[in-house]
């Protein structure tokens, strides 16, 4: 059996928080209306969740062979995840996927007017997102 020391309890708390954020990110992915909102929930709540899980690993194993790997993963996830989210959002907008119909403004489309228009008859964002 695992001993209940300060380290294991702290690791358990951090990892539980990480799992909770991952869960919330997934709920957001299902509930939010369009690609842009979903990218936000799925990439970022999940980024924080994953960072917390990896932090838990570092607390549990210390800076040994396992902890250093976790630290390197932490750095890569923190750097690549926002970049990927941005790339998905930009690609979606440029390929003409519209914002949710109740969105309040779209300055990007206003400034890019005439650059790439959504092809006539393309499905609204809601359907594309699914």
């Amino acid at each position: 059996m695992t001993e209940w020391t300060f380290g294991t309890v702290a690791a358990a708390v951090v990892m539980a928080a990480g799992a909770l954020f991952n869960l919330l990110g997934c709920i957001g992915l299902v509930r939010l209306p369009d690609v842009y909102n979903r990218v936000q929930a799925s990439t970022k709540c999940v980024t924080l969740g994953t960072l917390l899980l990896l932090t838990g690993v570092i607390i549990l194993f210390g800076f040994g062979s396992m902890g250093v790997k976790a630290l390197v993963c932490l750095w890569f996830v923190a750097m690549t995840s926002p970049t990927a989210a941005h790339a998905i959002g930009r690609a979606a907008h440029r390929s003409g996927i519209r914002l949710w119909e109740k969105s309040v403004c779209d300055e990007y489309a206003k400034d890019r007017e005439g650059a790439v228009e959504a092809p006539a008859g393309s499905p609204p964002a809601e359907e594309v997102a699914r």
Partner: protein, 162 residues
């Protein structure tokens, strides 16, 4: 030449940390791979790397991490609240903001910082204009509000990278 050597040393140290082994075969392969990576990376202009070696910039980089983390956690709780609220109180939209940062690396760090803070996603960066998708656009003065939070990040990033 200096850049190739610096990249090699950095890549090799990361390799050693990840493999966590001093087995001669492993070290030899790591050295060869690091050298190949360093040579392959040569055409990339990394004008920021020498800047980061200055102690006061490194200090601000170290301070920036917990500051950013605090924003990330606070904003995550906000998004979590909106997601589990039965009425889903969101007000999405893309707003525009301007940055005064000049170098490419500083602008990328700003865009990534904004994206990491949930509720905001940098969709594109055109010149000094940032297009940011927000889950909840404020009712009053959305541009001014966004501009203020950007300026907060800019203060740090300027001290790190410019």
């Amino acid at each position: 030449m200096f850049r190739v050597i610096a990249t090699f040393v950095f890549a090799f140290l990361v390799y050693l940390a990840v493999t966590w082994s001093l087995d001669p075969a492993s070290v030899l392969i790591g050295a060869a791979a690091s050298l190949a990576a360093a040579v392959a990376m040569r055409p990339l202009e990394l004008e920021v790397a020498p800047l980061l070696l200055l102690p006061h910039r490194l200090l601000f980089a170290v301070i920036y991490v917990p500051v950013l983390l605090w924003y990330v956690i606070r904003a995550n709780l906000d998004v979590a609240y909106r997601v589990i609220h039965p009425k889903l109180p969101i007000r999405p939209g893309i707003v525009k903001a301007r940055t005064t940062l000049k170098t490419a690396a500083a602008r990328v760090l700003l865009a990534n910082s904004i994206t990491l803070t949930p509720g905001t996603l940098t969709v594109d960066l055109v010149g000094d204009a940032l297009y940011i998708h927000r889950i909840a656009v404020p009712e009053k003065e959305p541009e001014a509000e966004m501009q203020r939070s950007i300026e907060h990040f800019e203060g740090f990033i300027r001290r790190i990278l410019e």
